[in-house]
Amino acid sequence: MRVALILLFLLALASVPGSIFPQRGTSPLRVSEFLKDNPTTGPILDRFYMFDVFASPWFASIYLLLFISLTGCVLPRALEHYKELRSQPPAAPRNLSRLPVHLEWKSNAATALVISETATAWKKRGWRVRQGEDWLSAEKGYSRETGNLMFHLALLVLLMAVGFGGAVGYRGTVIVREDSGFANNVTQYDTFAPGRIFSADQLPPFSFELKEFAATFQRGGQQNGAPREFRAELLVKDDPKAEPRAVTVEVNHPLRTSGITVYLVGHGYAPQFTIRDASGKVVYEDAAVFLPQDSAFTSSGVVKVPDTVPQLGIQGFFLPTVTNDFSRGPKSVFPAADDPEVYLSAYQGDLGLDSGMPQSVYRLDIKNMKRIGIEELAPGETWTLPNSGGTLEFTGYRQWASFVITKDPGKGWALGAAIASIVGLSLSLLIPRRRAWLRVTAAGDSGSLIEVAGLSKTEAPGLADEILQLAKLVNAPEEK
């Protein structure tokens, strides 16, 4: 118990840095920012796994020790309890008057009758009764220990389920534009984090198309612009041959199919452009995913056109609702696309795509490029690019939604263990283990003395009342 206690304290203490420092598992960007802002302390903290607390060896060793200590404690106790469940309560002590609850009264009933009838009555109330010649010994509340064991075992199962799910499952994210699709294949994911023993052929062959995304926002008041509803309308095929079915995915209402779950986690805008080169040939016609920068969805992104000479790069902002106040740069004032515009800078030169270095699709490498102009466009407007760069038409916008797709086969086990742990806990903490005794002593001519007594090892609130109730069940012939 003392070891368990110390390990519990250590576990609580060890979790604290995980909430103070940004963690790679949940916010990798904030970790790199932290490392950039703290060039001296950052790497030291990193060496002690302060940014991976819950995946660190020292955190693992604490819960492993707890795991071992838990097993070492629960198994022998379970054996002991099993034996106890099959044995009888211990015999009544000689002196019942020393017990915490004790009642006595005179009676002239026959001892054997009192004993046998009381035994029946107590048994009916769920007590396990052992019968002596002139005494009864009863016990109740075994489910306290059963519940306690169940709770500790459930914790073991829970830990295993978490570990198992993490090892064989995976988690990926993907951004899908309206009228585009996704097929469940590792290459289609934007980020993909497999478990330690995950294998790619476990990916069920489902696919979906995003037909429409809708977002509504609060208009007016203190929370102006706060999101109120997100809805993604999907056309889902559970496998390549299946009939497509329409599914609405919302926050809190994921799509569940073939053991995987698809969550709607974010959204944004993808302005559509048609770009023609100087000869009028279409070199780009697509919706480019722009990433939101603030809560009013001022979004930034780039378009790369490698097929012109020199290559063309567009960097810009999409503003769903523009203002006339440009003093702080282009900024949207409301997240819904009430009055959309784009602000673009065009670059000519070498996009740097051939260098072999992987490039972000959201960033333009302008090292070898020259800015040729900037422009502000409303939907339908066309910009004639300077320097014989051709034309760029802002044809409108699409929305995109981002999804997290996960598989965690340990989930069901974890839930079962969690429910078992609550049931076990409730039994363990709310049911007192208690004993009750009856003794009939001959008291000469005046019949016999009946004594009823009770004891609870754990501080049972209602023990006295319960023993009184038991006493009332004792065959009490003076009522005649």
């Binding site: 915490p100 004790h102 109120r228 509803e229 903490l429 006295a464």
Partner: protein, 334 residues
């Protein structure tokens, strides 16, 4: 759906009314406590146990026929303070009911469960503390505890209307789930009951300090002034344990309900978000408290400190993590 401003204003008026009632209750309870006293002097442990447990423990009832016993009071003789104590009790009921009505009106004004931002959580938390206290005092005399309940409630409500106040409005999509009602209600109920548990553990420490001084033959210290007016240390310890033991499974449920909700909303049932981490820390500390109560050498004062640390973790999670730490649980409305 728009917000009904009239109902929102009515809700605010009720919250102010409730604070007035709780302020009156606090004044009445402090007068009651100042004038009350315990009949017996503070004794050393052996006698203490039997004195406070009265009929219940360690005595023999000799009966002609067994009869159902009357329940034993945990209360103390408030002497002159009885009247003021009664006034405090009534005002606490009034304050709690007004607060409950204020919460309901807030929910009606926005047409949703009224637990969507920190202002609303704080109202619900204050209500849970008040209601736990009022309900428990139906079956026993808890007037001596009133002052230590009304103070945290007033602090909580004061913070709510000054720092945390948010206009009545609809919910963000992440909160738009029936799990909000389940998870947050369970957590708020626990917050209320754990507040009472922490108050009892603190009072236990005071009473124990006074009894330790008496046992060591020392002059009564400052602790005696309060200890004279509240139940014995053993009694307080037991009451604190019962509240914590009763609430721990519910707290476990609250955490698990949160995990189920997180699974539906964020795609994982546990992700060590700061809020989750502190819920876990709180849970582990309270588990340690229950273990401490069953471990030789840890019972009593050490266990009480562990319980108080658990409550400190709850407060930290509520105020510091909600307001200052970045995470997915950013719904404080501030």
């Amino acid at each position: 759906m728009t917000v009904n401003e009239t109902l929102a204003q009515a809700s605010n008026a009720m919250v102010y009314g409730s604070m007035t009632a709780f302020t009156g209750a606090m004044a009445a309870f402090s007068i009651s406590l100042a004038n009350g006293r315990r009949l017996e002097a503070i004794e050393v442990s052996a006698e203490r146990a039997s004195a406070s447990h009265q009929v219940r423990m360690g005595s023999t009832a000799t009966l002609d026929k067994p009869a159902v016993s009357t329940s034993v009071s945990d209360g103390q003789d408030l002497g002159e303070g009885r009247r003021a104590g009664n006034i405090g009790m009534s005002l606490t009921w009034l304050g709690t009911l007004l607060l409950g009505a204020g919460i309901i009106f807030r929910g009606l004004s926005a047409g949703r469960v009224p637990i969507g931002n920190m202002y609303e959580f704080s109202l619900a938390g204050g209500f849970a503390v008040g209601l736990t206290y009022c309900l428990l005092s139906l079956t026993r005399d808890l007037r001596w505890l009133g002052l230590f309940i009304t103070i945290p409630v007033l602090l909580d409500l004061g913070l709510a209307i000054t720092v945390l106040y948010t206009e009545s409005a609809q919910l963000v999509p992440a909160l738009n789930s029936y799990w909000l009602a389940i998870h947050v209600t369970a957590a708020v109920v626990c917050l209320g009951a754990f507040t009472m548990g922490a108050a009892l553990s603190c009072l236990y420490l005071v009473a124990q300090a006074a009894e330790d001084r008496a046992a060591a033959g020392m002059e009564p210290g400052r602790s005696a002034a309060i200890a004279q007016r509240i139940p014995s240390a053993d009694r307080l310890d037991l009451m604190a344990y019962r509240i914590h033991a009763f609430m721990f499974p519910i707290w476990t449920f609250a955490v698990i309900a949160g995990a189920i909700w997180a699974e539906a909303a964020w795609g994982r049932y546990w992700g060590w978000d700061p809020k989750e981490t502190w819920a876990f820390i709180t849970w582990v500390i309270y588990a340690a408290y229950l273990h401490a109560r069953a471990t030789a050498g840890w019972r009593g004062k050490k266990a009480a400190y562990v319980a108080i640390a658990g409550y400190a973790a709850i407060l930290f999670n509520y105020f510091i993590v909600n307001i200052f730490v970045q995470g997915l649980h950013s719904y404080s409305g501030l």
